[in-house]
């Protein structure tokens, strides 16, 4: 029972499994950490919604190894990323870069928000600016009497 409990505890404490295999890893922990960081930014083109850090696809593995080679060769993180982007395009980046092609993507929501806000402001301004309605004319004697009788009817029973 105790052994089973220990086994379960161990199984659940392991956390998520990564696709990175031990033999791919670099000896230098700082470089390896940078490689992991870069890999998380890169889309696996075979299974498109995974990063190459998560993917078991052959190409993802090749790209992980390539990133590590670039870093070992002295590339900065940006250099390594742009090396891959030069071959696979912006699409390989999971976070699309801000460029004229992606302005709509990055600024579209904010723009819509601003337009909606402006619309609201205009709407309320216009309502306030509208001339106050002239008060209705007072009731005539006749109307007042009729109102009284109606009210009395309600009060009686």
């Amino acid at each position: 029972m105790r052994a089973l409990f220990a086994a379960l505890l161990l199984a659940f404490s392991l956390g998520p499994a990564f696709a990175v295999e031990p033999e791919e890893m670099l000896d230098d922990p700082a470089l390896e950490a940078r490689a992991r960081e870069i890999s998380k930014e890169l889309r696996c083109l075979v299974c498109q919604n995974q990063s190459i850090d998560d993917s078991n696809a052959g190409l993802a593995r090749d790209l992980r190894v390539l990133v590590r080679e670039r870093l070992t060769a002295g590339d900065s993180n940006e250099d390594a990323l742009s090396y891959i982007v030069a071959r696979y395009g912006d699409f390989v980046l999971l976070r699309p870069p801000v460029s004229p092609r992606t302005y709509a993507l990055w600024f579209g929501p904010a723009l819509l928000f601003v337009i909606a806000g402006l619309g609201l402001v205009v709407f309320y301004r216009r309502r306030q600016a509208a001339p106050a309605e002239t008060p209705p004319p007072p009731l005539t004697e006749e109307e007042r009497a009729r109102l009284e009788t109606l009210m009395d009817e309600d009060r009686k029973p």
Partner: protein, 177 residues
């Protein structure tokens, strides 16, 4: 203000969004446009698969319009498009160069012996590194290279007779002029 505009605007917006969706939903997200189009082919040098046929290097792409096909014996779709290449090779209109991607030499040779060998040159890319230089992310992929060694077109996935007849061959003929 202009009341009519208030009524027309939502309709115009709706039509705009509908058009956007109509285009967007037809677009196949698994096809990634190549950034290498209209750029010179990457520099590479691949060894031959067998002794009787030369390997493939950047220099071989100069001087002639050519097709470069990335293939592997383990790749099912490659088998599908293969007869098209055999036919094309018989016509002799354009040389077809092969990049044998992450394959075992014995398997690749058997594959070509069984199905026929349409390639004028075959370069062996055992670790897939040259394929990365070409921006390949799945086999098969087919490139059209012009006389200057520039990549002019890329097709991802097996060639269909339509793509070959309506896109690739007209482009090849155009480039050959």
């Amino acid at each position: 203000m202009n009341k009519r505009l208030l009524f027309v605007l939502p309709v115009v917006l709706l039509i705009g969004i509908a058009v956007l969706f109509a285009v967007g939903l037809k677009h196949d997200p698994s096809i990634v446009p190549s950034v290498l189009l209209d750029k010179p082919a990457p520099s590479f040098d691949l060894p031959p698969l067998s002794n009787d046929k030369p390997g493939l290097a950047t220099a071989a792409l100069n001087g002639k319009v050519s097709l470069v096909n990335v293939f592997a014996s383990w790749c099912g779709p490659c088998r599908v498009e293969h007869p098209l290449f055999m036919h094309l090779a018989q016509e002799g209109e354009v040389p077809i160069y092969g990049i044998n991607y992450k394959d075992k030499a014995a398997d690749a040779k058997r594959w070509l012996r069984d199905l026929g060998d349409p390639y004028t040159r075959i370069g062996v890319d055992g670790d897939g590194r040259v394929a990365i230089e070409w921006g390949v992310y799945g086999v098969p992929e087919t490139f059209v290279i012009d006389r200057e060694g520039t990549i002019r077109f890329k097709h991802v996935g097996p060639l269909s007779p339509e793509v070959l007849e309506e896109t690739i061959l007209p482009l090849v003929r155009n480039l050959q002029q």
